[in-house]
Amino acid sequence: MSTPLVEVKNLKMYFPVRSGFKNLLLKAVDDVSFDVGRGETLGLVGESGCGKTTVGRTLLRLYEPTAGEVRFDGELVTGKNITAMRKQMQMVFQDPYSSLDPRMTVEDIIGEPLDVHHLCSNRKERREKILELMSYVGLNAEHARRYAHEFSGGQRQRIGIARALAVDPKFIVCDEPVSALDVSIQAQVINMFEELQEKLGVAYLFIAHDLLVVHHISRRIAVMYLGRIVEIADSDELNEHPIHPYTESLLSAVPIPDPDITRARKRILLEGDVPSPLHMPTGCPFRTRCRFATEQCAQECPGLTDRGGGHFVACWNR
């Protein structure tokens, strides 16, 4: 079997936090493992604070992970080779307003990765490459000399995507790339992601909280809760036969834009709020809100087990 493009094993990211006189550990990502195939899209969903963004950032070593390893194309990603690795792995950020330098022109923003990695030998080549990238994402050549503030949210996100594509990466972490955009613009950007994947064969880790968007774009989906992956499966399988009680209620809570369907189904409401990651419950992190919680859940945290057909679930009772 060929190796997957990106392999994440037992990734942990703890942040030290001072709370009063106590030093606490915030376990943002706790023992997360998954892999992403070539040209594949893996969706990563979860509520705010579940650690999905941290997973994406730790993967690219924007944070130094506490433990665990990331392999790209079989090669271990370390602090030493990360600069070279970022030629293969890139990121698109959530907020198209703060992720672009307001003092740089579009040309310089997209050209910066080319300069950092010495990918162009002369100015003419650089300029051509930039224009090619801009046409990929549907920007006109005349936009090259403008500044980021002159663009709308959707166009800015296109600039961010062009910047990520500049180094010809094989893998892009997309951190909530459409959530800051208007509904009518979201579809344009989602389609562009899909078209770029068909054309360039790039793989995505698509992080988002909107389950319908993630379902639309991803082949497989991983669901996170409080720093752990609780379920990972093929996207249709996950939507039709969720096994983990959290996934189940998450799916039932998504408002579907179709009155008949959405009014006919039954919501499985979760009690209460997500516990603070500073004071995690013992055992399974979901047990405080789970309908099926038993004694065992309080003692031991379940690991992901295979339920057949690549459907992995971390639950003792289902």
């Binding site: 509904v183 579809a187 998504v254 408002p255 834009p257 979760l270």
Partner: protein
Amino acid sequence: MNEKLLSVQNLHTSFFTDAGEVQAVNGVNFDLDRGEILGIVGESGSGKSVTAYSIMQILADTGKIVEGKILYKGEDISKWSEQQMQGFRGKCCSIIFQDPMTSLNPVFTIGNQLTEAITLHTEKHGRDADARAAELLELVGINEPDKRLKQYPFELSGGMRQRVMIAMALACEPDILIADEPTTALDVTIQAQILELMQELQKKLGMAVILVTHDLGVIADLCDNIVVMYGGRICERGTAHEIFYNPRHEYTRGLLRSIPNVNNMKKKLIPISGSPINMLNMPKGCAFCARCDSAMKICLTEIPEELWINDSHKAACWLNVRDAFEGREAGK
């Protein structure tokens, strides 16, 4: 004739900025019946929130109702003085905002803020007001209400804060509750809790609700009737069924095609081309014509009138006029 609870007639609201007059709301009409849930949907800048704020007269200093009437039980409240409006707000009509974090005052306890509304608008004072506040918190599903009353907003989670906001809005049992993107800042599972709560309270207390949101999913879930807005005008209105299954305005159609839904998962989305309009530079004709794939010549110059599609459905699109005309020609 049965008198409407609230009737907005030909409302025009503008903001006078340095860059010129921004006509945020441009001739909006709608009626609200007792106990009805009305959804106003549109993207940012469509004028949906400004419509809601105009009803409450809580516009920013630069904003002004230029024209039109807002009739509440037959009386035109748009002409009311600030003092009269203070009696109206909270007691007859209250509002909950998008961000529960910034709409609560961080330096006062939950109890302070809740009892303020109660003492201002009702006869209850002191202990009675406290008791009423605790009762309200219980109503919105907050446990240990007596403890919560002494807490500050930062001690509560986002979902809890939104519950407090709802409790505050319901303090004087208003006839109308305006919810401006009430769940946009919340997580999906918390959103489900809040929507369920709003539905439950609406049934229990029988108030009318105006739900302002950009989320078609939330609209589909809750609303009896829907108003679709674009560029400060209403492009389509009707029952939830009509709007979702028989859209007759190109913008509504485009919007429904462009969002991922259960039945288009494997298909490509069809986006609406172009970008949202600049309110400073409104087109002469239909606001949507620059982004409309089936725009005709007349769309550029003439603003379409709202036409009845059937008993429970109206749309403002020239295509409907053409269809009707062609239908008549064919019938001859």
